[in-house]
Amino acid sequence: MRTLPPLTTAAAAAVILLLPTAASAQDSTGTVTVVHGIPDTPVDVYVNDELTLDDFQPGTVTDPLELPTGDYTFDLTAPDAADNADPILSADATLEADANVSAVAHLTEGGDPTVSLFVNDISTIDAGNARVTVRHTAAAPAVDILADGDVLVDGLANPDEAVADVPAGDYDLAVNAAGTDTEVIALPGTTLAEGMNTIAYAIGSLDDGTVDVLVQAIDGLHGDPAGVPAGNAGLVDTADSTLLAVALGLLGLASLGFAARRRPARDHA
């Protein structure tokens, strides 16, 4: 199992990367996935003043959008709005070349709507492993996340995330109120697929009883086995047979030589 280095470092690096690069990255692109985690609130999403998602429903996620690098303004409006003149929410972001980010509309811990951007880890995953990213984007206090009864993430608060690589397989996941045995969500038999970053968002509001889990999957991050060790006895060793062939060949030549050399001796006798 592997965990990411402390994410304070990662976050700082990401911010630096997002600083002025537009001049050198005219034809490069980044990837944006939009996640809707505000219950009961369909919205229209404008990207740089263009309506991009019409009537975007809570609980849904877009396919990854490949967008040119540069500065973006996301405006969320009521679904029947004529334009984005009076958005419910707005957010500015700079998209870096080859970055893979998720823009998430969600509730703060206090229950106010907001938009957060997260950078998705798309580095190669060791063969046989799965990556799980957990993002607390719900109006709820900090939580612990358990996998098969063991604490996987400790004290995760809105709007933090945690990332871990684990052996691929099915896990009984559970979300507990931090430091307690009080189960908020039970997710038995959750598949963490090999080579995939499974990104889980806790959304909704604990007080309103709308807490739910959304999933975004990024596949194709798999590594490959280093090799195929399929023999340890040397029973079909071709080096052996080469030596044997050479030895037999020499023995054969020697025997023939011996037979030939005896002939003159016998003729004289």
């Binding site: 997002l18 309506l51 849904t60 063969a127 060790p229 023999g231 029973l235 079909v236 080096a239 025997s255």
Partner: protein, 260 residues
């Protein structure tokens, strides 16, 4: 006289055996193209759902099946500056500028992919009919190979036979404890020989296109285990020279078969 004849006969016999040993090496035959380029009809990597959900009955469990140490929660990677208020240049077009596919993301609504795990490998030309088990990755990051030298192992994280990419099935050439493995006969497969793989949804039939002795140091795992491009069946075992100091063969015998 008798000694001379005996020496001559022995000499010829030794030379013949030596010649047979030289000729009987597992020479490369046919066409082996592991990294077949993505072509029409194939899907890109990532399109195939993961097969781990339905491992075979004797699949080796992952060696470290419990999550490790606790991952530390992090401060937010927030890159946006939230602000309230009207945007500067309102648009007047209420229709979306592009069609962005959106899907339901609730965890409870996600259906796990169905995987048809191969369970039987037939090589009629060698009169072999082997059980196939699903295998993963060992502690050293190498492909697991079934303990039983009579079994074949299908790499369960890669494509199933017939899906885009290389379906990799490996078996032991030998074992110190069990002796020769069924796959030691892989070197006898010839171009054109048929191969059949059975799973719970039917049988796929393949024809051998080539066989190679590949130096392990030169093996390209991303080519051998590719998950996109033309469907291929790849049979793998060990062969070539044996390094007694590390109890390992220096090469892999790789057989590539194409779908019929």
């Amino acid at each position: 006289m008798a000694t001379r004849v005996l020496a001559a006969v022995l000499g010829i016999a030794f030379l013949l055996v030596a010649a047979v040993l030289v000729v009987d090496r597992p020479v490369d035959v046919g066409q082996v193209d592991l990294s077949s380029p993505t072509t029409s009809g194939s899907r890109v990597a990532g399109a195939t759902p993961d097969p781990t959900a339905a491992s075979g009955p004797t699949a080796n469990p992952d060696p470290t099946a419990t999550p490790g140490p606790t991952a530390e929660p992090s401060p937010p990677r927030r890159l946006a500056t939230a602000r309230q208020g009207p945007a500067p240049t309102p648009s007047t077009a209420p229709t979306a500028v592009r069609d962005v596919p959106v899907h339901d993301a609730r965890l409870a609504d996600q259906a796990p992919p169905t995987v048809h795990v191969p369970d039987r490998l037939r090589l009629p030309a060698l009169d072999l009919d082997l059980p196939v088990v699903a295998v993963g990755v060992d502690d050293d990051g190498q492909m697991e190979v079934p303990e039983d030298v009579g079994d074949a192992g299908w790499y369960r994280h890669g494509p199933t036979p017939g899906d885009p990419g290389n379906a990799v099935i490996a078996g032991h050439v030998d074992s110190r404890v069990q002796g020769l493995g069924a796959f030691h006969r892989l070197v006898d497969l010839q171009v054109g020989d048929r191969v059949e793989v059975t799973s719970d949804d039917g049988t796929t039939t393949w024809v051998v296109a080539g066989r190679r002795l590949v130096d392990k140091a030169a093996l390209d795992p991303s080519a051998l285990f590719r998950r996109s491009g033309q469907p291929r069946l790849v049979l793998v075992t060990c062969g070539g020279d044996f390094d007694g100091s590390v109890r390992s063969y220096r090469s892999n015998v790789v057989v590539v078969a194409h779908p019929v």
